[in-house]
C-alpha cells in the first residue's frame, strides 16, 4: 500500500486512515457532519495525495495524454485546465482527471478506481518512449482547500492575485524556496483549490494551511465528507456512481469527451454505444425527509415493476434528507417523478433536478471578498 506522505500529521490530528485501491486515504477526522458544515460555511483542508500525479513536457505530452484521455488535451490553453476522464479499452471510466497546461509542461492529476500501477500502465503503453512521463505521485503531496472561505486561506498564503484565478486554471507560487502548483479546481461547488508541493515542504505547507484555515473557522477533512459535498453539487464522483456504473454515457459525462478527436483508448466502444442510443440514464433522487431508504444497489420501482437502481447515496446535511443518483430507463429518467425504492410499494422516492443546492460561494461577489 502507498502511504500518505503526511500520515504522521494526520494521525496526530486524529484522522482515521483507510486503504482504497492500494493507496492510503484519510477517511474522516472530526466527523462527517462537522467536516461538511465547515466546507459549506468556512473551509476544509483535505489530503488528496492519494491521486496519481504526473508531469509531461508539453511538446510530447499532448500526444501521449490525448491517447489516454477522452478530452482534447491539445486544446487546453496556457494556464488553464481540462476536466476529463481516463477510459479503459472498453470505454469505461477508470480515472477522473484534471490536465493543466503550465508553460512548457502538462500536469495530470488522476483520481482513479485502479492502483497506481494500473494508471501508470495506461499512460505508458507498450512501445511508448521512456522518460517522457515524470511520476510525481510519491514525491509530491496534493492538498485540497475547499469551502466558502477557501479563497481567504489561499489569499493569505500567496497574496491577492489568487482572487483573479478563473475556475480550472493553474499558477505556480514560491513557498519556502520550492515551486508550489495552485490549481483552481474542486468538486464541492464552493470555492476550491488544490495545492501540489514537493515532499520537502509538504509538512510546512500543511501546517501553514491548517493554521490559516483554523483562523477562518476551518477544519481538517477526510474524503468521506466529499461524498455528500460532491453529490449536493452534482460533481461526478468516481468512487460512488463512477465505480458502480462506469459507462460515461449513462453517467452523463459526454461533456468530458471530444467526440471529434481521432483516437483515445476506448473511443470506438464509446462511439458505438453512442450511435446505438442510450437505453438508461442517471438521474438525481431524494428520499422523503426522515426516511433512510436510499442505499447503493437499492432497486427503484414504478408500480409493481422494478425499473432501476440507486448507484450513489448520501445524507445531505444541507437539505436534511437523503439524496442520491439512480440509473433509470431513458423514458423515465426525468426530474419531478415519484417512484418507490426497496420494494414495490416501498418507501417513496422522487427524482430531482441537480444540483439541489445553491452554494454560498455562488452568491458572493468579488468586491465582497
Amino acid at each position: 500500500m502507498r502511504e500518505l506522505l503526511l500520515r504522521e500529521q494526520w494521525t496526530k490530528a486524529g484522522a482515521v486512515l483507510v486503504e482504497r485501491h492500494g493507496v492510503q486515504v484519510v477517511s474522516h477526522v472530526s466527523g462527517l457532519r462537522a467536516e461538511h458544515v465547515a466546507v459549506r460555511d468556512a473551509v476544509g483542508i483535505t489530503d488528496f495525495s492519494f491521486m496519481q500525479k504526473y508531469r509531461v513536457p508539453l511538446e510530447k505530452g499532448d500526444d501521449l495524454l490525448d491517447g489516454a484521455l477522452a478530452g482534447n488535451v491539445a486544446k487546453i490553453r496556457f494556464g488553464r485546465m481540462l476536466h476529463t476522464f481516463m477510459p479503459d479499452n472498453s470505454g469505461h471510466v477508470v480515472g477522473d482527471c484534471y490536465v493543466a497546461n503550465n508553460d512548457e509542461e502538462l500536469i495530470l492529476l488522476c483520481e482513479g478506481i485502479a492502483t497506481d500501477g494500473d494508471i501508470r500502465e495506461r499512460l505508458q503503453p507498450a512501445g511508448a518512449s521512456d522518460g517522457i512521463l515524470e511520476d510525481l505521485t510519491e514525491s509530491h503531496v496534493l492538498l485540497g482547500i475547499d469551502g466558502f472561505k477557501a479563497w481567504a486561506v489561499v489569499k493569505e498564503l500567496f497574496g491577492a492575485d489568487v482572487l483573479g484565478l478563473a475556475y480550472l486554471s493553474v499558477e505556480v507560487f514560491p513557498f519556502e524556496g520550492e515551486s508550489v502548483y495552485l490549481f483552481r479546481a474542486g468538486k464541492t461547488s464552493e470555492f476550491g483549490y488544490l495545492l501540489m508541493a514537493p515532499a520537502g515542504v509538504a509538512a510546512k505547507l500543511s501546517d501553514a494551511l491548517t493554521g490559516i484555515a483554523a483562523r477562518h473557522g476551518g477544519v481538517l477533512c477526510g474524503v468521506d465528507a466529499h461524498n455528500a459535498l460532491r453529490l449536493e453539487g452534482r460533481f461526478f464522483n468516481i468512487h460512488a456512481e463512477g465505480a458502480s456504473v462506469r459507462d460515461p454515457l449513462v453517467l452523463g459525462l459526454q461533456w468530458m469527451i471530444d467526440f471529434e478527436k481521432d483516437r483515445f483508448h476506448g473511443a470506438e466502444a464509446i462511439k458505438q454505444r453512442r450511435a446505438a442510443g442510450l437505453k438508461q440514464k442517471i438521474v438525481g433522487v431524494a428520499a422523503a425527509p426522515g426516511q433512510e431508504c436510499l442505499g447503493v444497489g437499492a432497486k427503484v420501482f414504478h408500480g409493481q415493476g422494478g425499473i432501476g437502481e440507486v448507484v450513489a447515496a448520501a445524507f445531505s446535511p444541507s437539505l436534511n434528507r437523503q439524496i442520491g443518483l439512480a440509473v433509470l430507463p431513458i423514458g423515465l429518467a426525468f426530474a419531478g417523478l415519484r417512484f418507490t425504492v426497496g420494494a414495490a410499494g416501498g418507501s417513496p422516492v422522487e427524482t430531482i433536478s441537480m444540483p439541489p443546492i445553491f452554494p454560498k460561494s455562488l452568491q458572493v461577489k468579488l468586491d465582497e471578498m
Binding site: L168, W255, F259, E260, I282, G303, F334, S353, P355
Partner: protein
C-alpha cells in the same frame, strides 16, 4: 385520472420543454454537442460545460424568448443546469395558468 396517466403527462410536458431548450441552447451558444449528449443535470456555468457570464446572458435571453417567462436579474440559481431552468419554466407557466 390514474397515476400512470399523470406520470406520462408530466414526462411529456417536461420532455417537450427540455427538447426545445436544448436545441436553442446548442444553436445560440454554438455548442459542439447533440441534444442527446447534453445531460439535463450538467453544470452550465464554470464546471461542466464551462460557459461564461456572456453565455449566461444568452441563456437568459434564450429562456425568455422560447418560453415567454422572465428570469429576474438576481436569480442566478436557475442557471445552474438545464433541469433547474426547466423547473423555473414549469413553475412560471403554472403560476401564470393559475392567475384569473
Amino acid at each position: 385520472m390514474d397515476q400512470d396517466t399523470d406520470l406520462q403527462k408530466a414526462i411529456a410536458r417536461r420532455s417537450e420543454i427540455i427538447e426545445k431548450l436544448k436545441k436553442e441552447l446548442i444553436r445560440r451558444l454554438n455548442l459542439r454537442y447533440s441534444p442527446e449528449d447534453l445531460h439535463e443535470d450538467v453544470s452550465l456555468l464554470g464546471a461542466g460545460l464551462g460557459l461564461d457570464s456572456l453565455d449566461a446572458l444568452e441563456i437568459v435571453l434564450c429562456v425568455e424568448s422560447c418560453f415567454h417567462v422572465r428570469i429576474p436579474d438576481d436569480n442566478i440559481a436557475v442557471l445552474r443546469s438545464i433541469n433547474t431552468l426547466v423547473d423555473f419554466v414549469i413553475k412560471e407557466q403554472d403560476s401564470r395558468n393559475k392567475q384569473p
